[in-house]
Amino acid sequence: MEYRPRQPEHNVNVSRRHPLKEFGQLLLGLFAALAVIYFALGLAVDAVVDRLSAETELAIYNSLNLDDLAEHFVSDKEAGEELAQTKSALQQLLPCANLPYPISPHLIDSPELNAMAFAGGAVGITSGLLEAVHSEGGLAFVLAHELAHFRHRDHLRGLGRGIVLITGATLISGGHSDLSSLLGPAVNLQMAQYSQAQESEADREALALMHCAYGGTEGAGELFEKMLDRKDPKNNLGHYFSSHPQTRKRLEAIKAWSHPKAKNPTENRN
């Protein structure tokens, strides 16, 4: 028996695959799987949200932690006068909207043209928007648009999808791993991101609400007209996300639906 050691020609204990190639393949596979699951569960979320009762909806909002919302708003005392027109428009619209919870308007001190709906019934309007939009119709359209989001429970859809994503990641990776901390920041639980279809639907519903409350939709497009006038590329924060072609399309859509010869907007919905 002779001891003869040798250096192996290549390392048998190590795989030949390039680490980047393997990483890329795994990542692609993961994204594909996640996309399919997210899409499928998104459909399920939609189906559930459509069938929720009003009590359940209220219970969900109450369980959310919305205390730090107040930081964004100007206090009601200071905002009182500026919100006067808003409040009167709301009073006209609310009976038609038929929501199971109260809607409270708040002022946000910002020069941008923006309005946001927060889960639970708070609506924030920027001082910039109030300065730009003068007609009652224009303001009513903005408010009706937010009310439409509430009616469609768009917050819950976004929330539901976010929860599905995080739950999935946590279940797969087991707790505080890199995967779930990567996906966590991607889901903002307070400000929902609305899809274009949801925005378009909200526009349509807003016109229907205005019809019900005011009998007409005059001045509805004022916000978009003012946005186009401003031509300010920075006008795309938050909920409205309006790059100009998008704003123009929405303005044209509103005009088409509001045309006296067109059918009532509620009938157009399929």
Partner: protein
């Protein structure tokens, strides 16, 4: 969004520097293995071949602890989703084992043979529960010194 950028930076840094350090380590390992090739090392329980009179024996050990880089950790966690060989840890373990055995050999210059080679591997956890941060390999054996002629 910033977390994503931090994550990507860590990934790239981990990958680049990790690959560099790994290749350098492998080169060092291969060189030293070639030098120490003739020190008979086996896992048999008895001396191999004709030994002649034995002067002394002693317990020798080689120890090393090597950590994964960030890129490897993420690649491994992806692999754990789908199953299969975790290529990123393979090089880690290979390096660690070979390094430990080399250190064992280096710890007993002048030895004639090393028998009863045992290798033990253990993971050192990062403390966050189940994340394996580094691996420690301990190689032990009995070094035999032949009676000088």
């Amino acid at each position: 969004m910033i977390e994503l950028w931090v994550f990507l930076c860590l990934l790239v840094t981990g990958y680049v520097i990790g690959q560099f350090l790994e290749k350098r380590h492998f080169r060092s390992i291969e060189t030293r293995e070639r030098e120490l090739l003739n020190l008979v090392t086996t896992s048999s329980r008895n001396p191999v071949g004709e030994m002649g009179p034995i002067a002394r024996v002693e317990l020798v050990r080689g120890n090393c602890c090597i950590s994964v880089d960030y890129f490897k950790r993420i690649a491994a966690s992806l692999r754990k989703l789908f199953g299969g060989t975790i290529n990123s840890y393979e090089t880690l373990l290979d390096r660690a084992r070979r390094e430990a055995i080399l250190r064992l050999k280096e710890s007993c210059p002048g030895a004639t043979q090393i028998i009863n080679l045992r290798v033990d591997t253990s993971s050192i956890f990062q403390g966050q529960g189940r994340q394996t941060g580094s691996v420690e390999v301990l190689a032990t054996g009995t070094a035999i010194y032949a009676q000088p002629e």
